[in-house]
């Protein structure tokens, strides 16, 4: 099979059905995905959608039921151990031997990498505020996650594969993390990161891939992503409004309607909705980013039905 050297990740019909999974839908169903080198891809989906399965297949930790994947030009199934030198990986549930001090752990991991620039390691630890003298098991989840980020970034790998990298990090550190991703991109590194929160990745990602029930339902440039322009709007009125008042507004899908309130997802311009609301006494008008589950119900319900 011809391998495109401009791609960091290429999967072809990648499927995974776990042993003992029975006849249900596979954990991953015929995934075709091509990630160009130097690109930051946000890999989104609700919990259990197949994100971690995909990532573990890319790392050869799992063996596909069918299909294949090529990472950095190498067929993963035939990749020699030294190929992983080009990868940085942070697992969703980052686990390390926990009875030793952080500093000793990082020295060992640097050794296992075959040597890491000391200054780079120090810089990362300082920026993320890693407690180097503490024993690993004494760290909180967030502090352990920082150690995970340091070990993934420390050797400036060609490809970073990060599974839910910001989980447990406080907002300030999430910011630092996003800076690290931007710097990696500026250096030409590729970043493939999963998340179940869209807003977390949209500011750094070039492209967004969305999986649901093991299938890729969307893969597009981040600015072309329709769901980015979707908001959850809820309006409360001072007096009852007629049932039909918001039924036919373009781009607004009502999800709940009581006599004095309406709630729904708004995609596209808000003009028509606001003008319709303005005909009544508005007590409260709230608009927020919907969570992925809500968006999925609206945008990808066809997948739901097929999958059911």
């Amino acid at each position: 099979m011809a391998r495109d050297s401009t791609l960091a990740i290429e999967t072809r019909g990648l499927s995974k059905r776990y042993r003992g999974q029975g006849d249900g839908p596979p954990a991953l169903d015929a995934l075709d995905l091509a990630v160009p080198r130097g690109c930051v891809v946000g890999f989104l989906g609700p919990n259990g959608a197949g994100k971690t399965t995909t990532i573990r297949l890319l790392l050869d930790l799992l063996r596909p039921t069918s299909g294949a994947c090529t990472v950095l030009g190498t067929d993963v199934a035939r990749a020699p151990a030294r190929w992983r030198q080009k990868l940085g990986y942070l697992a969703g549930d980052f686990a390390v031997p926990d009875r030793l001090p952080v500093d000793e752990l990082l020295r060992f991991l640097a050794d296992l990498r075959g040597g890491v620039d000391r200054a780079r390691l120090d810089e990362l630890c300082e920026r993320l505020g890693v407690h180097r003298s503490k024993t690993v098991h004494a760290l909180s989840k967030g502090n352990k996650q920082k150690v995970g980020l340091v070990q993934a970034f420390m050797h400036e790998p060609e490809l970073l594969i990060l599974d839910e990298p910001t989980s447990g990090l406080d907002p300030l550190l999430q910011h630092t993390f996003l800076d690290l991703v931007r710097e990696a991109k500026a250096r030409g590194q590729t970043v493939f990161m999963s998340s179940h929160v869209l807003s977390e990745v949209q500011s750094v990602a070039d492209r967004i891939a969305i999986v649901r029930q093991g299938r890729l339902v969307e893969y597009t440039d981040v600015d072309k992503l329709e769901i980015l322009h979707t908001h959850k709007v809820s309006i409360t009125f001072g007096a009852p409004v007629p049932d039909h008042a918001f039924a036919a507004i373009e781009g607004f899908a009502v999800s709940r309607h009581t006599p004095t309130s309406v709630e729904g997802l708004l995609t596209g311009p808000a003009d028509a909705l606001i003008k319709a609301a303005a005909e009544h006494e508005v007590v409260q008008f709230r608009s927020r980013e919907p969570d992925l589950e809500e968006v999925f119900l609206r945008h990808y319900s066809d997948v739901d039905q097929e999958g059911a």
Partner: protein, 264 residues
């Protein structure tokens, strides 16, 4: 920077375990060997042992009460090998399937370390542990041998130490194989522990009943102590059986581990 970072890290991480197992084995070796003097100085006690039911005498080989005979029935025949097998199942079970269940194997395999290297470096650390504890036992026994005038040739103690290490590697390798097949620590410990008990039982039953003597040949305990290394010195044939069994079990484990999904 070392050429075998995971092996040395495994030793470093488990340094307390090394010290603890060394202390445990030294203590039980000393305790059991020390009884030799009481027994040798007390003819009534010696006579009482010959009064024991025949099956007990056979199981524990109490017929021969020379220094080598005492060590063969007690220190090297019972407590030290059993503790060593428990150590093998516990240690290998923790550093292979235990770490896999904890998700740590995931991390290492994202580093430039093949699955084969990961298993071999982990197992290598265990072999070092077995060498360490077996040497401590040998030093304790050698001390009593001189102090109590037990009359065992030092070379025979060395030979006994070699087969003790190999008994440990057989059960370590069996634990490795089950761990590599299943990735489950609890299951691995149960299967390997049961195999340890069965090995001891097979050797004991084989000694009792001539019809069951074939059971001895499949028991690692028989190849370990059956040829009486403290009396006769190291037996090459039985030594090769123990080493070969370990090698085959490790190779099967590597084959299995390279073919399956990593848990969880």
């Amino acid at each position: 920077m070392s050429r075998y970072p995971l092996l040395f890290q495994t030793v470093r991480e488990n340094r307390r375990g090394f010290v603890a197992w060394g202390a445990i084995l030294a203590a039980i070796a000393a305790l059991y060997t020390a009884f030799f003097r009481q027994y040798a100085d007390n003819p009534d006690l010696a006579a009482s042992l010959t009064q024991l039911p025949e099956w007990m005498q056979k199981t524990f080989s109490f017929q021969d009460m020379s220094g080598a005979g005492w060590l063969t029935s007690t220190t090297y025949g019972l407590v030290v090998p059993i503790a060593t097998v428990i150590m093998a199942v516990t240690f290998v079970g923790r550093v292979l399937p235990g770490d896999e269940e904890a998700g740590i194997v995931d991390l290492y395999l994202a580093y430039p370390l093949s699955r084969t290297r990961l298993v071999l470096e982990r197992f290598g650390a265990f072999v070092l542990l077995a060498c360490f504890t077996s040497t401590i036992v040998a030093l304790v026994v050698a001390g009593f041998n001189v102090g109590f005038d037990m009359g065992v040739a030092p070379a025979h103690i060395a030979g006994m130490t070699v087969v003790l290490v190999l008994l440990a590697t057989v059960y370590g390798a069996l634990t490795l194989l089950v761990g590599c097949l299943t990735g489950r620590r609890g299951l691995t410990s149960a299967v390997a522990g049961a195999a340890g008990a069965a090995g001891y039982m097979f050797d004991a039953l084989g000694k009792q009943f001539d019809e069951a003597s074939f059971l001895r040949t499949i028991s690692p305990f028989y190849h370990y102590i059956g040829p009486r290394p403290l009396h006769e010195g190291l037996d090459p044939g039985h030594t090769v059986v123990l080493a070969g069994t370990s090698a085959v079990l490790v190779l099967l484990g590597l084959w299995a581990f390279n073919r399956r999904d990593i848990q969880p």
